[in-house]
């Protein structure tokens, strides 16, 4: 019987052919925790008798969710992480080095065909690399750090085939928002999503990460982009599904006519064509996060904002996904363009998206954000409303002071 990508990757780790529904205890190729999940991971690791992590080169801690520390309580949690990393001889990515998922990919903690476990729900992002990557909580991660293993049920797979090429001015974010709207926030619970078809084949690694990232918003265990067209800086062996693989469900969409998409408050699957929301006044525009803080995202915003000023009633925050992204955006002039247009640059990290610090909206305010979640209270204030869109939509909306279709600035 044929296998899906997930079934093949898990089989390679289990040492036998496995199929959806089977339970396995698998070796993992890497694991990480952030400063939201890391302190509880360390506590659980010690409580379960952990002395040494299974392999310090395959374990990492990242300070990104509240970086730099906004208060003494969090400063002490960061210190706990630094002390643990030093004791274990493992790498800790410091404040400003970047968002966990971005630095794991840039530093090759995860590669095609790997099983990676991260204590963060957007760990499926590495499905862009043709890896099987799952999010877990702190205690699961502590167990993986101690044993090098995870127990998991081989998931069923949903196939999403997108034919046609996206129009100019329509991006990977518009496509994944559209798909979240169709599949819904619980439509893929416990399952893998395989993204396949022409629409994905020409995508950069960065765009593929945007796609895989929001598998989480459909409840999926992970999301894997078919490796056809994937280009990396190193050689790799692509894992592709068999023709007779078994899928629980298949979707087919022709996306050649897709328009920019917006997710309205207060659920990521509340997705509509942008025309439904054009004219909605905004107070705050945000570009960053593990979903859309990469160089191509900042570049497209700069293309729209070059030589212009954002609207007088709008403030704009930019959080590059990593230090490496920031340096590239400085080198190519993008950062200068964005700052001259009126944007405020903050430390690489997750702060505004998780409502920790560095840009909490006021009561009654409206945010247009390039992030992946718009739950009530997500950005730190339950009395604000968050719309999600592509970085292009965020930039164009910042310019005009209301939600607007960015296509006219990009054609």
């Amino acid at each position: 019987m044929g296998q899906t990508i997930s079934e093949k990757i898990i089989s390679n780790h289990a040492g036998k052919k496995v199929y959806a529904g089977e339970l396995v205890i698998s070796d993992v190729d890497g694991c990480m925790a952030s400063d939201t999940t890391g302190p509880l991971t360390i506590k659980a690791f010690r409580e379960m008798g952990g002395k040494k992590v299974f392999n310090p080169k395959k374990c990492a801690l990242i300070i990104d969710h509240a970086a730099p520390s906004p208060n003494e309580r969090i400063a002490n949690l960061h210190k706990m992480m630094r002390d643990f990393a030093k004791e274990q001889g493992m790498r800790l990515f410091e404040i400003g080095e970047g968002i966990c998922h971005q630095v794991m990919v840039e530093n090759q903690y995860v590669k095609p065909g790997d099983i990676f476990i991260g204590a963060d729900s957007h760990t499926p992002t590495y499905g862009a690399l043709n890896a099987f990557a799952c999010g877990v909580g702190s205690t699961d991660l502590a167990a993986t750090m101690m044993t090098g293993k995870i127990w998991l049920k081989v998931p069923q797979t949903i196939k999403i085939n997108c034919s046609g090429k996206l129009q100019d001015g329509v991006t990977a974010k518009d496509l994944i928002l559209f798909l979240v709207g169709k599949v819904t926030v619980s439509g893929a619970t416990y399952q893998t999503i395989e993204f396949t078809g022409e629409a994905f084949e020409g995508m950069t690694l960065a765009s593929r990460m945007t796609i895989a990232n929001m598998s989480s918003e459909m409840g999926a265990k992970t999301g894997i982009v078919h490796p056809k067209g994937l280009k990396l800086d190193y050689d790799f062996e692509a894992i592709t599904p068999d023709d007779d693989a078994n899928y629980i469900k298949s979707f087919d969409f022709d996306v050649s006519g897709l328009e920019p998409q917006v997710s309205a408050p207060e659920s990521p699957d509340n997705v509509h064509n942008i025309s439904n929301y054009e004219g909605t006044k905004i107070n705050y525009a945000f570009i960053g996060t593990c979903c859309n803080g990469r160089l191509e995202d900042l570049d497209i915003a700069a293309e729209i904002l070059k030589g212009k000023k954002i609207h007088a009633d709008v403030r704009m925050v930019i959080a590059p996904a990593s230090q490496s992204v920031l340096l590239d955006a400085i080198s190519n002039g993008t950062m200068k363009t964005l700052i001259e247009a009126g944007a405020s640059l903050i430390t690489s990290g997750c702060g505004p998206c998780v409502g920790t610090h560095q840009g909490v909206p006021a009561d009654g305010e409206v945010v247009i954000s390039a992030a992946n979640r718009n739950f009530r209270g997500r950005m730190g204030n339950p009395n604000s409303n968050i719309y999600l869109g592509a970085p292009s939509t965020v930039a164009a909306s910042a310019l005009e002071g209301h939600i607007v279709n960015p296509k006219k600035y990009l054609l």
């Binding site: 939201t36 379960m48 963060d120 877990v136 909580g137 409840g219 998780v354 739950f375 209270g377």
Partner: protein, 169 residues
Amino acid sequence: MSGIQTNIKAKAHVYGDHIDTDRIIPGKYTKTLDMSTLANHVLEDLDPNFNKIVKQGDILVAGINFGCGSSREQAPLALKQAGVSVVIAQDFARIFFRNAINIGLPVLELANHKIDKGAELDVDLKTGIVKDLTGGVTYTATKLPDIMINILNEGGLVNYLTKNGSYSL
């Protein structure tokens, strides 16, 4: 079950579908190891009164996709610390489900329940049978995989691994 009470008779607090982890415990309160901070803010953006009315042993009941969103284990920890003895939902988001079992908070999936706000429930965790004493209906929960039953029986993954050293299926 050594770590947890297996027979629970208590009141149900009933909420709707897609209760996300930001509603269970907002991100701004998660960076702490102090469990009372978590309990003080549990569900505050959904029902600001919850932490005042919840009593030790009470049962939380919800619709579909309970616990969607973040991987924060602070969500089940906040509920447990606030006194919730078991969470019943039509179904759960997967990370929340694993996290709850891992910290020893029992979770039961009742696909088609019609439990009303304030109902008195009688829950037997060993059999998965839930009697709605107010509604007069008896439900049977979806069975957990054996490994999850074993983890829960020890009161969570820390105790399970302390005892066994590693996983076994």
